[in-house]
């Protein structure tokens, strides 16, 4: 199994080769760094905004749901490269790898070669996330949490939550269950030389219909992701950027809308679900859920 979202972040900071990717990245002007990491920002949003539901129905009494959500995020080919523009007045049209691409470019600049980092050459990215939800009176509150971890000089912190309301009861004789949900997830990875923080928000409306053990579900979701990357510039210098400058790069993910269709099977307290999501990056999500 290849690495997941969080492990890619850890690798970016810690493993020797990936540290060298980081070294090359911190030699680029901020706009180029933004272009390099943008698909990663989008993948962050795709990851954190997935797996929020597998049915619209919410227990009218007290309920508890514990889930593990696995997913496979597919990186479109066009998100594996970007057209470089290392300085004002540059007229070339070379392509270089993004975080998920392959080979970095080498551009002959005013003072020497500007060398771009390679990518991880990944076409898909598996990942997983645990979540716990409690429900009462037709509403559900969900928590995603990963205990603060310190791995190879990297501190990782994840906190996410969601709120869902099933308003089927407000529409008499409506043939399907229908609910709205808001998800908020924040993640940060802090290394002595760099920090990555992502903020993700999603709002969806989803519907489901139960046929004995089988549940068919689908929904449409609006989502927004922003990634902040802080590092110390150690390149040769560009207009407006000097060596040792503290740089903050803000990148918005390209994820905005997604459409979800899925199926779930409920077997007593156990529910298994799988859905396919069409968005800026498509993703297959599978869930293992225990409901009490």
């Amino acid at each position: 199994m290849r690495n997941g979202f969080l492990i890619t972040i850890i690798l970016l900071f810690s493993v020797k080769m990936f540290a060298q990717i980081g070294d090359k990245l911190t030699q680029l002007p901020p706009d180029e760094v933004a272009r390099y990491v943008q698909p990663l920002a989008t993948a962050s949003g795709t990851y954190f905004n997935s797996g929020g539901y597998f049915k619209a129905n919410v227990s009218k009494g007290f309920g508890l749901k514990v889930s593990i959500v696995g997913m496979q995020i597919y990186i479109p080919e066009e998100q594996k490269t970007f057209t470089v523009h290392p300085y004002d007045g540059y007229t070339g049209n070379e392509e270089s790898a993004t975080f998920f691409g392959d080979k970095g470019a080498a551009i002959a600049g005013p003072n020497g070669y500007i060398v771009y980092p390679p990518g991880l050459n990944l076409s898909s990215l598996p990942a997983g996330i645990p979540q716990v939800a409690v429900s009462f009176f037709g509403a559900e509150a969900m928590l995603r949490y990963f205990p603060k971890m310190h791995i190879s000089d990297v501190d990782l912190d994840l906190l996410g939550f969601g709120i869902k309301y099933n308003f089927t009861g407000l529409i008499p004789k409506f043939p399907v269950d229908i609910a709205v949900q808001v998800l908020i997830n924040n993640f940060e990875a802090i290394h002595p030389n760099a920090e990555i923080k992502t903020a993700n928000i999603a709002a969806n409306i989803h519907a489901s219909k139960k046929f004995e053990m089988l549940i068919l579900y689908g929904g449409v979701q609006y989502e927004k992701t922003s990634m902040d990357l802080n590092y110390t510039f150690d390149g040769l210098g560009f207009p407006g950027v000097m060596p040792n400058d503290k740089i903050e790069v803000n990148v918005d993910g390209e994820n905005s809308m997604r459409f979800t269709a899925g199926v779930a099977v409920e077997l007593g307290v156990l529910a298994l679900n799988v859905d396919y999501n069409i968005g800026n990056q498509n993703v297959i999500v599978a869930g293992l859920n225990f409901e009490f």
């Binding site: 199994m1 290849r2 690495n3 997941g4 969080l6 492990i7 690798l11 493993v15 080769m17 990936f18 060298q20 990717i21 090359k24 508890l64 514990v66 889930s67 593990i68 696995g70 392959d102 080979k103 970095g104 470019a105 080498a106 002959a108 600049g109 005013p110 003072n111 020497g112 070669y113 060398v115 771009y116 390679p118 991880l120 050459n121 598996p126 990942a127 997983g128 996330i129 645990p130 716990v132 293992l288 225990f290 009490f292």
Partner: protein, 185 residues
């Protein structure tokens, strides 16, 4: 409640396995490594020349990666003028790169150029396919000791037909060669 906490603990464990289950399928990493060679020429004659020898082991990025190296190949090379006096100096620049035994790798001539043209502006040296093949072939067999007692490369720079408003003539320039080192992750 005890049962639930066990389930939660199990789920966290399974998730951790999913997240941290190795990266043995990661591809090799193609790193671009720039190799810079500077030279300074000065004199009153209408032809000046200099020679600079170097090893890849002189470059930290190369030494940092050579133990994980799977292959290395030529990507690009360019010339820059860093400083020139008098500023109107012009001439014909010839740059030749040779291997340890003097075998030619590439040879390029820029005829009758104003050297200040290449201050903050590269002259991209375009190699022929035969030169690229020769370069890559030479890189394939390269073996260097840690102390560079037998340099792997010699760069010869010759500027002829020099004209300028005043002498002596002083020229500082730089050649950079970018190599692609494919390394294990």
């Amino acid at each position: 409640m005890k049962k639930i906490s066990k389930i939660i603990a199990s789920l966290l464990f399974i998730t951790s396995l999913m997240l941290f289950s190795g990266c043995d399928n990661l591809s090799d990493i193609p790193l671009n490594i720039p190799i810079g060679v500077e030279f300074s020429l000065s004199g009153n004659e209408t032809s000046l020349e200099g020679t600079t020898s170097f090893c890849l082991n002189q470059y930290k990025e190369w030494t940092d990666n050579k133990d994980a190296l799977k292959s290395v190949s030529f990507i690009s090379t360019s010339y820059w003028t860093k400083a020139v006096t008098p500023s109107d100096l012009s001439g014909t620049i010839n740059i030749a790169l040779k291997g340890a035994a003097g075998e030619p790798i590439f040879n390029v001539t820029m005829k009758d150029v104003a050297l200040n043209t290449f201050i903050n502006k590269p002259y991209k040296i375009v190699l022929t396919k035969a030169e690229i093949d020769a370069f890559n072939g030479y890189l394939d067999g390269i073996k260097e000791g840690p102390d560079c007692t037998n340099p792997s490369f010699t760069a010869e720079i010759n500027i002829s037909n020099i004209t300028g408003s005043t002498s002596p003539y002083n020229i500082t320039g730089k050649i950079e060669i970018v190599l692609e080192a494919v390394v294990e992750p």
